[in-house]
């Protein structure tokens, strides 16, 4: 297991280098002079030349790439001219919020998705199966930001006079710092409800669809027939023999879903004004703050690589066959 884990971790290193490289390529393809971003228009050519020199823009491409990669991998993402602070500080403030939102939704959607998928597979062909198939396909096809808007309409503005009212913007109420620790916690949880619910609903459809297919495949295997032939009760056949094997591929889904989850999180952060990475990137785009955009892109890439690594390791834990195989 240890050598398997080490091999996997080593394989992730070139991928992170690749992610940084791709960001660098994108940066160098941008038309226009990067130095001009930091300067007022109409600056004298001598000053521009000096700035270019200090920024190292006149170095050959290879040297620039080396320096840039070195800085990036050390977490030095440059200076944000919009926020007037190092990009690193700004990004590190936003990252935990994104992780909080994403991990909550990931956990809930896998929990619900697995339950729904298994239920559908067991009751295959029944009315319940068809209804759940329709519902999961619906949530699979729905734009996350639109669902967010509709949930705001229903649960917060209460157009149907419902009893619900949840906050729809930010991660804390104004003046939350003055509250007692307990009230601060409930305030934060209160703000988490709608964003997490939206993201969970979006993801659950896909998870349930996948689990259903995977379980159906397992249920048709010979050993399930054997278990039934032995006269085991159906619940034991499904829960003990079916579920164990049916859920193995779900661990891979975890890795596949990570980028999808983060894409969804970006949109939902914007709708709910959640102070995470996605909202930060969008703000940076609108204010042409390229260092923040690039650092955000890089960190999202790193998150996906690490998420995949985690999924790989989990796969090794639940399925011994994977550990033995090379690669």
């Amino acid at each position: 297991m240890l050598s398997f884990a080490l091999r996997r971790m080593l394989a992730a290193v070139p991928l992170i280098l690749g992610v940084a490289t791709l960001v660098f390529i994108a940066l160098s393809l941008v038309p226009g002079d990067p130095a001009l971003i930091y300067l007022r228009p109409g600056v004298s050519p001598e000053v521009l030349e000096r700035i270019r020199e200090t920024m190292g823009l006149d170095d050959p491409l290879g040297i620039r790439y080396g320096k840039w990669l070195w800085a990036f991998l050390h977490g030095d993402f440059g200076y944000s001219h919009f926020y007037q602070m190092p990009v690193r500080a700004r990004v590190l403030a936003a990252l935990p919020n994104t992780l909080l939102l994403a991990s909550g939704a990931l956990f809930l959607s896998f929990l619900i998705g697995v339950l729904v998928g298994v239920l559908q597979a067991v009751k295959r062909g029944s009315l319940l199966d068809s209804v759940l198939s329709g519902v999961t396909l619906f949530f699979y096809s729905i734009p996350s930001f639109w669902l967010a808007l509709m949930l705001i309409l229903i649960f917060s503005l209460g157009i149907w006079g419902g009893p619900f009212s949840f906050p729809v913007s930010g991660s804390t109420s104004p003046g939350a710092a003055l509250l007692s620790p307990w009230d601060q916690l409930t305030d934060r949880l209160h703000h988490l409800v709608l964003p997490t619910l939206t993201l969970t609903l979006i993801l659950t459809g896909g998870v349930a669809r996948y689990v259903r297919t995977s379980m159906l495949e397992v249920i048709q295997q010979d050993y399930i027939r054997t278990a039934r032939a032995k006269g085991l009760p159906e619940s034991k056949v499904i829960l003990k023999h079916g579920l164990r094997n049916g859920l193995i591929p779900v661990v891979t889904l975890f890795g596949v879903y990570f980028p999808f989850l983060l894409s969804g999180a970006v949109l939902i952060e914007v709708v709910f004004a959640w102070p995470g990475m996605g909202r930060l990137m969008l703000e940076a785009i609108h204010s042409r703050d390229y260092p923040v955009v690039l650092a955000g892109t890089f960190l999202f890439g790193v998150m996906v690589v690490l998420g995949n690594l985690l999924a790989d390791l989990l796969y090794g834990v639940v399925d011994p066959r994977i550990r033995e195989r090379r690669g």
């Binding site: 930001f145 983060l262 999202f300």
Partner: protein, 380 residues
């Protein structure tokens, strides 16, 4: 039934013979389009002096009317209602696939919705009750009450903050939302299939370098990559299509490579090799056609996904800027007025949901029809 009756109303003879679905669709299309051109006669007659959109609409109208009529007449005279059972051989898979597909009501419903949306998009100038730019309240003698008016019989989906008719804007806005998806998937298919086939067939260093690049691109969440590209290069329709295709091709490449690797070892491939065929011929004539089933499935599901991504980009204010905005942009604009006028944001969103849902239904149906492994799994 008189032999000439069948030429009068297309689809009617099919209905009498119990082929309800084909007959009904043909009859509905034919009568519906006739009614449309009757009701909007003045608009249709104006079309020849209009812009390219009007021309496209006119040609579509005439083309579909003629097409339905010819299909119906020919089907009755020639085929006599029988299915083309004799065609086996190279087209066997697709014929067999179609037979499975048409028995799947959900997939057929999806196909119907997709085709209806594209038809509505092409016929937008005739279908839309108002010009999409017509700003009722702001024109001379306009009525300010028309601003953000609730859905009514004149404005079926209400009006927006510029008192433009939401339904008309949805019909015109479909042009961007639906074409961008098709273009991007077409482009990504071309690149993805080519690179995947080469990587899988040639192997070695070429394979490694292509797949490493695929891994790199796939390491980014798609929306984040799109945001970064669009932010760096400014949104134009070309940049958006290229960027969407750029985030889509790795999926195709990875899958095609896997299929080619699996097919490479099969007997027919070795037989072709033994016959002395060139490698290019084996790859493109023998291996690739056999790998196309899953590719088509993934492409269909991909269109739905790309429509969602484009809507997301537009919603963030980074989509294509046009006089008639895409559905995502309408949502972005309607967001501010959501408390007073839910219809401005709700209906474009529903349009997106419906189209994406339909593409996913078609994709699911195609998977059952084209992927033999799945089919065996289902029929047990």
């Amino acid at each position: 039934m008189g032999s000439r009756v069948r030429f009068v109303l297309p689809g009617l003879p099919h209905l009498f013979r119990g082929r309800v679905l084909e007959g009904g669709v043909a009859l509905f299309l034919w009568l519906g389009l006739l009614a449309l051109s009757g009701l909007r006669m003045d608009r249709v007659l104006q079309a020849p002096s209009g812009d390219i959109g009007d021309w496209v609409a006119l040609l579509t109208l005439l083309g579909v009317l003629a097409g339905v009529w010819i299909w119906s007449a020919k089907d009755e005279v020639g085929g006599g209602g029988g299915a083309p059972g004799g065609s086996v051989g190279s087209r066997g898979v697709s014929v067999e696939g179609w037979r499975v597909f048409r028995k799947d009501p959900m997939a057929m419903a999806g196909l119907g919705i997709v085709l209806a949306f594209y038809l509505a998009m092409l016929l937008a100038p005739f279908l839309a009750p108002f010009e999409p730019e017509a700003r009722g309240a702001f024109e001379v003698g306009g009525d300010m009450a028309l601003r953000l008016a609730a859905p009514s019989s004149t404005h079926l989906m209400g009006t927006d903050q510029y008192s433009q008719d939401v339904l008309s804007r949805i019909l015109y806005g479909a042009r961007i939302s639906l074409t961008v998806g098709l273009l991007a998937v077409g482009l990504s298919l071309t690149i993805g299939v080519f690179l995947g086939a080469i990587a899988g067939y040639l192997g070695g260093r070429i394979d490694t370098s292509i797949m490493r690049f695929v891994d790199m691109v796939m390491a980014f969440p798609r929306l984040v990559l799109l945001l970064a590209i669009v932010a760096l290069f400014q949104p134009s329709i070309l940049v958006i299509v290229l960027a969407l295709a750029f985030t889509q091709w790795p999926f195709t490449t990875r899958m095609v490579r896997g299929e080619i690797l699996a097919l490479k070892g099969r007997e027919f491939s070795e037989a072709a090799h033994a016959l002395g065929f060139s490698r290019r011929r084996i790859l493109f004539m023998h291996l690739l056609p056999n790998a196309m089933g899953p590719v088509i499935v993934v492409a269909t599901l991909g269109i739905g996904n790309i429509i969602l991504l484009e809507a997301g980009l537009s919603f963030l204010g980074l989509g294509v800027r046009a006089s008639t905005p895409s559905w995502g942009f309408m949502l972005f604009e309607g967001w501010d007025y959501m408390m007073d006028a839910w219809w401005v944001a709700a209906f474009p969103g529903l349009a997106i949901v419906l189209v994406v849902l339909a593409f996913n239904l078609v994709g699911d149906g195609l998977r059952d029809a084209l992927d033999p492994r799945q089919r065996e799994g289902r029929s047990q």
